[in-house]
Symmetry: C2
Subunit: 273 residues, 2 copies
């Protein structure tokens, strides 16, 4: 069901001694491919390269990754690019010898239901609090156990996402998406300097808002503000944009900001940014 | 140089879609094997099983793991047991379908230099502060990027370890070992309820101290106390016990507690606990 290129060659497996497996020593990005075109690629690559830099990895060239995405996902798909620190001996130290491993994978294209964009989704607040680690904040690293434990808190399929706070109760993100509020006429999203993952879709929404002169703020956000918000929505590259219809007892209607930004995202995808 | 059994079969690789690689979704333990015998096995297995439970994984049976360690490491070696959540589709959620992957690896036996036990090692204090995550504290999970970034802070081979604090400046552990102080006639080691990895050697040292009526305390420890300590030592299963000779300007002589506990560890290994 998934197909993989490992260092450019079709493969079903990765060396058992790879540091990606041993220690989660790597980073990744998830990219939607439509008719063979990697959507939002500029931001995806920029973030991947920045994440590589944050943990001291050499990032593969953009052209090479694009070529491999095209090879493994020629039509509609979800592609995943993983860069690990490669194989080394036992131990956390790594020398010059460790050459990065590059994995490009293709998964089936997402099925985006029109009623979700229309009616929005139910979410819950997760009990797990994200740990504060500025050295890794924003980075989409292979260390994702917090997200997994948070996602395992519920199995009711009606609940589509879980909101995550840090240890001091600030809203940070959802388990696999970023969160935006429409609040007092502004677009507001949590700053990710302590924890959380900076999604490429989040960056795009902020860029599109700026270009459309929608006032926006990236700052600390409390759950009190979430409840006060006029509208709430989630973004990631695969779901696109999901209005939030409910969190616990609080209900929202899909709002004008979500509708407008959803349209701007679709235009941007169609025009191939 | 390393050899691997994956789910009991000799292999050089692991499926590319394994969640251990995708998300660091798994746990591990590192075990010294001497003449085919897994040292400190009781505690190693108990901690592995406990870690599996902490992240909701089924732990393989002890007898199966021991048999596989014996097969992959028949003489003297360092064995590593990894349990991941196995292969699943894309996304953090996992269903009943994900069957754990069991990896048993053998690496060359460590070379323990007698002068290290005699003279001790130099360590430094790392700049990286460990994030507080009670849900994963103590667990030896595959999410080890903090340790890797901390270990990458220095390359001077004279410095053998780096001490790690949490965000509030408490001493927690070293990058790949646990830390003990001899302080006011007591054995003191940091509590690991917020962050850190609970090593099997740490558990054994605490058990041996108890059995030998050495008064011991597991509690918050400050760097002021580290500087005040009469002696300091590090433990992990591979190094055994390393007295700390220096951290920055502070110097210590290898102390009576380190010597006594080192001997007790060696006796325990010889007697096969």
């Amino acid at each position: 069901m998934a197909s993989f290129l490992v260092d450019g060659l079709p493969a079903r497996s990765v060396e058992a001694g790879d540091r990606g497996l041993m220690y989660g020593d790597g980073v990744f990005r998830t990219i939607v491919v439509r008719k063979g075109r990697a959507l939002n690629w500029g931001r995806q690559f920029r973030l991947l390269a920045s994440d590589c830099g944050r943990i001291g990895l050499a990032c593969p060239p953009a052209a090479l990754l694009l070529e491999e995405i095209g090879r493994v996902a020629p039509g509609d798909a979800v592609a995943k690019v993983i860069v690990t620190r490669g194989v080394s001996g036992r131990g956390y130290a790594f020398g010059e010898e460790a050459a990065p491993t590059r994995i490009v994978a293709a998964f089936p294209a997402p099925v985006n239901l029109p009623e979700v964009a229309r009616d929005g989704v139910r979410v819950r607040r997760c009990a797990l609090a994200l740990a504060v680690q500025p050295r890794l904040a924003g980075v989409k690293s292979l260390n994702r156990l917090e997200n997994i434990l948070a996602r395992a808190e519920w199995c009711d399929p009606v609940i589509r996402e879980g909101l995550l706070a840090d240890g001091e109760g600030r809203l940070v993100e959802a388990t696999a998406s970023n969160v935006f509020l429409g609040l007092d006429g502004k677009l507001v999203t949590p700053v990710l300097s302590r924890c959380g993952v900076a999604g490429a879709q989040r960056e795009r929404v902020l860029d599109l808002a700026r270009a459309a002169s929608i006032p926006s703020e990236v700052r600390d956000v409390s759950f009190v503000e979430l409840h006060r918000a006029d509208e709430v929505f989630l973004t990631n590259s695969v779901i696109g944009l999901w209005p939030v219809a409910a969190c616990g007892e609080r209900r929202w209607e899909p709002g004008p900001m979500a509708r407008r930004l959803h349209r701007l995202i679709e235009d941007d995808d169609a025009n191939g940014s």
